[in-house]
Structure formats: C-alpha cells, structure tokens
C-alpha cells in the first residue's frame, strides 16, 4: 500500500470512531445503550440492518463464489423481500408492543423462564462463534494478500470496534453502520467501474456479457429438484426463506435494530428498506465475481489465489504434481486468451462464432478442472477443504487497483467486518445482561450499575470474538461456515417463535422440548443425509412446531398467558 492508501485508511478509522462517539452523546441509561432510547430514524436502522448482514465475508467469499460458480448464490436471497413482509405483519408487532429489550425476553412472558434462557443461550453460543468468524475472515485473507500479521489485523479491528461499541452502545453502532454501509455501496460501485477499466480497451459491455455466458456464469436460476444441490430455486425459496426469517426474526443482532425505532411504523419501514435494496446489492456483488472471471480471460491468474496454501503444497510431497498442474494451467490459459481475442475480432466483424465458442468453452472447462484438482491437492495436504474462493477478489485488488482506491477497498472490507461485529457485540451484551445477569444474578440495581454491566459484557464478548478469530484457522469456505453454524440452531429457534405467535395453546414445556427435539432432528439430518444445509432450517422449524404442539396438548400445564 502507498502513503495515499494509508491516508484513506486512517481517515476511515478516525472518522468512524469520532462519528460513533459524537452520535452517542445523547444516550441515557440502559435503554439508551441497548435501544437508543427508541428514537432512531428508520432510514438509519434500515442501513444498519443491511450492514449487519453484509459482513466482510459477503465481499470476500461471495465474489469468489461467483468467480467459480457464477450467479447461482443469488437464489438464497430471493425470498428476503417476502420474509420482510412476514416480519412486518407478524413478528415486529409482537416484539414492539411487548417493549422488550431482547427477542428472548418475549418468550418468558409467552412461555416461561427456561425457554427464554435456552433460546438466549443458543443465541449467545452461535452468535459468539459467528462474531469470531466475522473478525477472522478479513484478517486471514489480508494477512496472506497484504502480508499483514493476522493477529495484529484481528486485534486492530477488534479493539477499535470494542472501544466505540462500549462507549456509544447501539446509537454509535447504528450510525457507524450507516457510514460503513454507504462505504460498501461506494466500494461495490468502484469495484465494478475499476474492473471494467482494467479490461482491454477493445472489450465492451456486450463482450463481457458474452464471454461470461459461454461458461453460463450469468445462470442465476436452477429449477432442478435435487435436494442435495446446495443452490437451487427451491433450496433458495424454501430453505433460504426459513433461514432469513429465522435470522431477521429471532436473531437478537437484527431484532435489536428494529426495536430502536420510535414507532411500529418506523420499525416496519426499516425492514421494507431492506426488502427493496438487498437483491440489487447482492446482484452487484456477485457480478463483481463474474467480471473477475471475464477479466482473467485476458490476464493470467494464478492457479490458486491463496499464496499460503500454494507454498504449503509446494513444500509437500505432492509439490511436483501441483507444479505440473500449474504449468498446464499456464498453457491452457494462453490458448483461451488467444481464442477469446480472436472471438472479439470475429464478433466485431459479424462472423460465425460457433467454433470459437466451443473452443473457449472447452478451455474454460479444462481450467475449471485444473482448479478443482489443485483444490483437491490442497485439501489433501491441509487436511481440510481449500478456502481459495476467499482470496480471489482481494488478490485482484492488490495486483490491479490504483493507489488510493486500494486503501478505500481495504477500508470497505474492514468496514464490512466492523459493521457486523459491532452489531453482534451489542446484541450479545444485551442478551447477557437482560436475559441472564438482570434475570438471575442482580434483579434490582440502579441504571448506572446495569450500564456498567452492559459495557463489561460488551468488552467480554469483544475479547471472546478476538479469541475465536485467533483460533478459527481451519474452516472451509467462510461464507458457508457461518451459515452452516447458524443453520444448526436457527430453524429450531424460529420454530419456538412461530409456536409463540401462532399456536395459542402452546405451553412453555412444549416450546422447550420442541426446541430440543428440533436441534436433535437437524443434527440427525445433517449426519445422515446430503441435503443442502439450507433445508436444515425447515427441518428444525417444523420439528419444533410438531413436537411443541403435541407436547403442549398432552402436558398438564395451564394455558400460557399471551
């Protein structure tokens, strides 16, 4: 990085911290710390909802996935607008009118203390681990790409985020999320413009679309019914629907956001905002990956982008085999480059493209096969699957992006990570203090005491996230890892809330044992079948509903108060 890059980077950090502290000056008490005194505007909340979901993994992992597999990942996001409707109609009114601090607090009023405590505990475990992965993802990638020390990167991001979250609470978090989300929009736009700018001058938009289309990279919808196929329209619309409903409807890091609105109407509008913006944003991010795929028709990419993995394989007993793949990759890429340039000539002169299309398609297939073989060798040597997809985009940034812009893009990756981490820290802190400390340990104390406890809890979870990040080194695709961790709990948590909202005769015992049964069912399905992890949420939700309803019917407990 040049001096200009560092200057951009420093402005980002200074600006974010200063802005966070300035915005949080009006916070009063625990309600101010966790809910911004319920007076935040819906536009800011809406951007914060988006920023919380869009972590650095979104940029790093999603672009890499699109580079390898095209646009198919967008199918997971297709049901999100519909999910927002259901949230607005069913979930938000229940939470908002109950005047709760956490989503799980609602469950004690509806069911009992043990259901509240178990759901909150599951949230703390799953979100606490996810917070570490959110921090780890950009740190490990930047350490390989930029040569930065991984531990130092984790600690810089972690310490700064902990500091402003501790000081300013949810108000600081939401307003910094606004800035960070706007930075992400700028970053996405800049990446698309820069990618077009680094293509050869004779390559137009139509050529880009055409070259991507030869390998079906724009293919976004897969109508096949195969449940073992991870991304299809059905896994997206069914599994993705339940995943999104569980995430936005039961995860405290999202529920807390729309509880900060000054009215029910504003809570709903913050989600509607997301309903309209999320799909175009995700489409743009995935397009970056496809553009990278096209870009590397003209520039030679490495066989694998993760230099650390490549070095590890070179030094292993399979090093010679890997080198042969690299040499073959160079040869095939040269042939594809020549064929692609020839195709551009023929296209501009209106000639027949059939033979060239076929040749390029074959080369694409060969290169893709070589990359798969290389990843298999890495998996064999490492003992875990290759996470090369996370290195594709950062590698491009370092090699091809001009000074100043590189600093901006790296700051955007940091912004994405920090905007997710800060939300998770306030959510983890609120669940710890409201659902456990205030509920079981210190039931009555003054505001100052709980405020101090809240800041200490934020600090603790920040340290925990850093600790997880420092030891999270052996995961595959980070993107899927985070979703998979969530999928073990999310569906069952959603089942409990649906039981609370829709099944009037459901009891606390029914909800509690339904939740246990849901998680067991998901675990059994995960180890005995190959179905897409997106369906785990469906299994969890329906198991909780079925077992919870049956158990409630046959248990002797009186009907719960609604």
């Amino acid at each position: 990085m040049t001096g200009l890059d560092w200057a951009v980077f420093a402005i980002y950090f200074g600006g974010v911290v200063g802005f966070a502290l300035w915005q949080s000056r009006k916070n009063v008490g625990v309600e101010g710390y966790f809910l911004g005194n319920r007076r935040l505007p819906w536009g800011a909340i809406g951007l914060s909802v988006m920023a919380t979901q869009a972590s650095a993994i979104t940029f790093i992992g999603t672009t890499g996935q699109a580079f390898d597999d095209g646009m198919e990942f967008i199918q997971v996001y297709l049901p999100q607008p519909l999910v927002m409707i259901l949230l607005c109609v069913v979930f938000v009114p229940f939470f908002y009118r109950a005047k709760v601090y956490t989503a799980y607090e609602y469950l004690e009023g509806r069911f009992d203390a043990k259901t509240r405590s178990l759901t909150s505990l599951l949230f703390l475990i799953s979100r606490g681990l996810a917070a570490g992965i959110v921090l780890y993802a950009p740190a490990i990638v930047l350490s390989v790409i930029m040569g930065w020390d991984e531990k130092v990167t984790i600690l810089i991001m972690g310490v700064i985020t902990i500091a402003y979250t501790m000081a300013g609470g949810i108000t600081a978090v939401i307003w910094t999320d606004v800035v960070q989300m706007l930075m992400m929009f700028v970053g996405i736009a800049a990446a698309l413009v820069i990618l077009f700018g680094t293509l050869p001058p004779e390559v137009g938009v139509g050529d880009v679309v055409y070259i991507g289309g030869i390998q079906q990279m724009w293919s976004s919808i897969d109508w096949s019914w195969d449940p073992t196929n991870t991304y299809t329209i059905w896994s997206g619309m069914i599994g993705g629907f339940f995943l999104a409903l569980a995430y936005f409807g039961t995860d405290q890091s999202q529920v807390q956001r729309y509880l900060t609105a000054k009215s029910l109407r504003d809570s709903r509008l913050s989600l509607i905002f997301n309903a309209f913006l999320k799909l175009p944003m995700q489409f743009a991010i995935l397009s970056i990956g496809v553009l990278l795929f096209v870009f590397y028709h003209f520039e030679r990419p490495p066989l694998l982008f993760n230099a650390a993995e490549v070095t590890m394989v070179h030094e292993s007993e399979r090093g010679a085999e890997f080198q042969r793949l690299e040499l073959e990759h160079v040869d095939v890429h040269s042939l594809r480059r020549e064929a692609t340039l020839e195709l551009l000539d023929v296209r501009s002169s209106g000639g027949d493209l059939t033979e060239l299309q076929q040749r390029i398609g074959e080369y694409d297939g060969q290169l893709s096969g070589l990359r798969s073989d290389a990843k298999a060798i890495v998996s064999d040597v490492r003992g875990t699957s290759s996470n090369d997809v996370n290195y594709v985009f950062p590698s491009y940034l370092v090699r091809y992006v001009p000074a100043g812009i590189l600093g901006l893009m790296i700051a955007v990756i940091f912004a994405a990570a920090m905007s997710s981490l800060d939300s998770e820290l306030t959510a983890l802190s609120s669940a710890t203090v409201i659902d456990f400390y205030k509920r079981y340990i210190r039931r009555s104390a003054d505001e100052a005491h709980y405020l101090l406890a809240s800041r200490i809890a934020t600090f603790f979870w920040g340290l925990f996230a850093c600790w997880v990040a420092l030891f999270a080194g052996r995961l595959g695709s980070l993107l899927e890892a985070v979703n998979q961790v969530g999928s073990f709990f999310y569906g069952s948590l959603l089942g409990v809330f649906v039981l609370a909202f829709l099944v009037k005769k459901a009891t606390g015992d029914g909800a509690f044992w339904g939740l246990i049964a849901g998680m067991v069912a998901v675990f059994i399905v995960s180890i005995t079948t190959d179905i897409s992890y997106l369906y785990y949420n469906v299994v969890g939700t329906f198991t909780v509903l079925a077992v919870g309803t049956l158990f409630s019917r046959f248990s002797d407990r009186p009907e719960a108060v609604t």
Partner: protein, 51 residues
C-alpha cells in the same frame, strides 16, 4: 417486559406513494416475482454455452 401496548395507528394511512400497507406488501410480492422472472430471463438468454 411490560404489558403496555401502543395504539395501532400504523395500520392506517398512506405509506409514501402507497395508499396502505397492503399495497406496499403487494408491491414487494410483485417486485420478487419480477426479480425471479428477470433472473430466469438472464439464465436463458445469456447462456452462450454449446452444451
């Protein structure tokens, strides 16, 4: 948690350019259908492979 409830004044009145929440929700459903149709259109028309 309290049992306090707010008056449900949000269900009435216009929401921006939409006459009511129902219209807004309807627009979101149409938006989703159009998005799927558009992506399907891309999938079919931007496939230049010879397979």
């Amino acid at each position: 948690m309290t049992d306090r409830t707010e008056p449900d004044d949000e269900d009435d009145g216009a929401i921006g350019i939409f006459p009511s929440w129902s219209w807004l929700y309807g627009a979101i459903i149409v938006y989703t259908v159009i998005a799927i149709a558009l992506l399907h259109f891309f999938t079919v028309t931007l496939d230049f492979g010879l397979r």
